[in-house]
Symmetry: C2
Subunit: 208 residues, 2 copies
DNA sequence: GCATCCATGTAACCAGTTACATGATTTG
DNA sequence: CAAATCATGTAACTGGTTACATGGATGC
């Protein structure tokens, strides 16, 4: 699911691996820190697949507006640019600034709407870039997640087979888990209702 | 960290793989369900390491008291026993009931007190069997976890580098994460204080 | 006697990790 | 010029997963 994060970040601006990783770590859900050993191979894979591509010269000096935010990104791109366009062609090991291709953009959207994978980290990664979705798609994402959480909750406080000598610690742990799921569910419901409001906001004001 | 769970469950009673797995799934922190493809190889590994051992005949028909709880476990052991000791010798593929060896018990304790690995699942697995620890060891486990959570919290609401155009979704996600950590911390603090009370309970009644 | 669960295992794969090797650039 | 940081990458390993192969026992 590192793919979502990479494609999502590259959608915002072109970046090289090192910088990409710094952003990756401070993205919700990518604990404890995605390592270079997984980042670079992933970039290579995405490049081979045609989703990203090394942008060497001034293909896109990050259009215009984005200068407002993210100085670091601009700087990285600028420096890389200067280096490659400047002297010769950059030695074997220079910065390699990646950008999203058209198919990469498609791929990102594809990954974002894929509700099958109910994985926690995957969900967080999707939410982090869900502003790229339509309201309906976002709603679908949230509701799929909701289903998953409900499933987990029901699974948790069901039969309790063979739980004879549960220690107080296990019980406490189970309670904590239940509380965490409940809190998550409440959070999701808020998101969902706000999304619903957005959807049929202008049209009609029914259904909370 | 499947090792902790396996050893911990086998400490309670001898079990064969299939039954073990059923218990494993309803253990907190072993989402979404440990698969056979990881369970059996793990058992093999633990057996080769000498931590567990297949108990075939009446080596230990689960001593005496444990009959009180866990009917399923007793049944499984009994059936396996009957089968092996009963007819011939059981075909190539019969139930294989595993038990914990002495070194396995040591190993379990070792894994339980190992506070280095700050992994979430690892922590849950340890708590699930922390009744096997002394109060002091348990306290150390909880406090190590607390340190880890504090570290995460501080990491989360620090610099916020390059967070220019954070969408409402990312912000919401970060808030949720922060709330989850706070809740976890509160839960832990409760555990810790109750553990402290237990420790110096008889001696003096200070410090809540 | 057929389906279904119980039961054990292997093989191929997956998504990541750590440790290592390498080198360029910046800064004190 | 040395140390720190930036930067890219490979190799070996980890801790699992799914899919597959196999077969015994039970229930209807």
């Amino acid at each position: 699911m590192i793919d979502i994060a990479i494609l999502g970040l590259l959608k915002e601006h072109d970046l090289h691996g090192y910088e990409l990783r710094k952003r990756l770590v401070e993205l919700p859900g990518s604990r404890p820190a995605v390592s270079f050993g997984s980042l670079y191979p992933a970039l290579g894979r995405l490049e081979r697949a045609g989703y990203v591509k090394a942008v060497t010269h001034e293909t896109s000096p990050t259009p215009a507006a984005p200068m407002s935010g993210s100085l670091a990104g601009e700087l990285a791109a600028f420096r890389a640019h200067r280096q490659s366009a400047g002297t010769t062609d950059r030695g074997s090991r220079g910065k390699k600034v990646y950008g999203l291709t058209d198919t990469g953009e498609q791929r990102l959207h594809e990954l974002l709407v894929e509700t099958e994978v109910a994985d926690d980290r995957g969900f967080e990664a999707r939410v982090a870039f869900c502003h790229l979705l339509t309201t309906a798609e976002r709603l679908a994402l949230f509701e799929a997640r909701r289903g998953e959480l409900v499933r987990r909750r029901d699974l948790a406080n069901r039969p309790t087979v063979a739980d004879d000598g549960q220690t107080i610690y296990v019980r406490s742990l189970l309670e904590r888990d239940a509380a965490a799921i409940a809190a998550d569910l409440a959070w999701l419901d808020l998101l969902i209702s706000s999304e619903r409001a957005r959807k049929d906001g202008a049209g009609n004001g029914g259904e909370q």
